[in-house]
Amino acid sequence: MGTIILQVLFSFVATACFGVIFNAPTKVIPACGFVGAVGWTVYYLVTDMGLDDVRSSFIGAFVVALVAHFFSRKFRMPMIIFSVSGIIPLVPGGIAYNAMRNFMEFDYVMGLQNGIRAFMISGAIAMGLVFAEVIVQMLLGIMSKGKTSIQSFMKVRK
C-alpha cells in the first residue's frame, strides 16, 4: 500500500511538472498532474497483476484519455491540454534507451527486439487515446453537437 501511495504521489508531481514545461495554463496544472497520476497508477497496478507492458500501456492510455475528456468538459478546454502530459509517464523511454544501447554494443538482435517493443508500446498508447476518445464521442455524440473532436470534424466535412 505504501508503495502505491508513493507511486501516485511521484507520478502526480512528474506529470504536473510536464504541465509546466508544456506551458499549460496555471490553473489546470493540478488537473494535468491528476490525469497523469491516474494513468500511471492504473498502468502500475495492471502490470503488477502480471499483464505485459503493451497491454497495460493501452489500458493506461485509455484511462488517461477518459479522465482528460472529463477535465476538458469541466474546464471547457481542448482535451489535448490534459492528455499530452498525462501519457508522458507511459512513454517507453527505458525500452527505447535499451534498444539504442544494444545497437551501440552491436547486439542488433536484442536492439531490434527492444526497438519493436518500444514501437508496439507507443502504438498501444496512441490507440488507447484514440479509442477512448472515439468511444466517448460515440456515447455523447447524439447529444453534443458542436464539440471539437475527430468525429465532429468528420461531420463538418460532409
Partner: protein
Amino acid sequence: MKYEQSEMAIDCFLLAGRIMMESGAETYRVQDTMLRMARSQNMMDTQSYVTPTGIIFSLGRTQPTRITSISTRITDLHRIVLVNNVSRKLTSQMITLERAYDELKRIEKTNYFLPILLQVLAASIASSCFLFLYKGMLTDIPTAFVAGGIGLYIVTIIHKMTRVKFFSEFLAAVSVGVVASLSVHYGFGTEVDKIIIGSVMPLVPGLLITNAVRDLMAGHFIAGMAKGAEAFLTAFAIGSGIALVLSF
C-alpha cells in the same frame, strides 16, 4: 459580402490556424476551428488544407484564397487554450470579427511562457520523479535532478541561438549523458542507465507522437506523416546524443 470584410475574415481565420499549428495543436482541430469560425460568419463555402508547414484557406469561389507558412512548431498549450476561447466566443456570437482579430493579434505577440528558471526546475523535479517511477535508486535522485535541469536548459538556450531543433536536442542529450556518466564515475551516482532515462524524459517528443497518430486516424495522412517524421528525428537526436557519450 464586402471585399474589405472578407479580406479581414480570411486574415483572422488564418492567424488563428497559424497560432494553433505553431503551438502544437492537432491538424484536425486547426481545420475544425477555422471552419467553425468561418461558418459563424455565414461563410459556408470555405475550404482549407492544413499541413504542419503551411495552411491554405479559401472562402469560396469568388472570394479570396490565402496561404500562410508555418516555420516553427513548439509545445505551448496556453496559446491553444486562448485561441480556442476566442473561437468559442466568436462562434457563439459573443464578440465580433474585428474584436476576435484584435485578440488573436495580441495572442500572437505575447509570450505566455513561464520564466525559464521555473521550467528548468520543473524538468529537474520531473526527472527525479521519473527516476523513482522507473525503479531507480533513491541515492541517484540528486544526479537526475541536475542532469534533467541541464538538459532542458541547454535545449532551450541552443534552440534560441541556432533555431535548429535537431542540433539543440542532440547537444542536450550529450550534456545529460556527460553529467550522468561523470557523476557515476566520481561516485555520486550508481546506475547510469536509470539516471539517463529519467533525465531525458523532458526532451521526449510526447506531443508529436500522439498528434501524429491522431492525425493519421482522422485522415490527415500528410500531416500525420510529417509529424511522425519530426518525432522520429527528435528521438533519433536524443538517442544519438546519448550513444555518443556512452561510446567513450
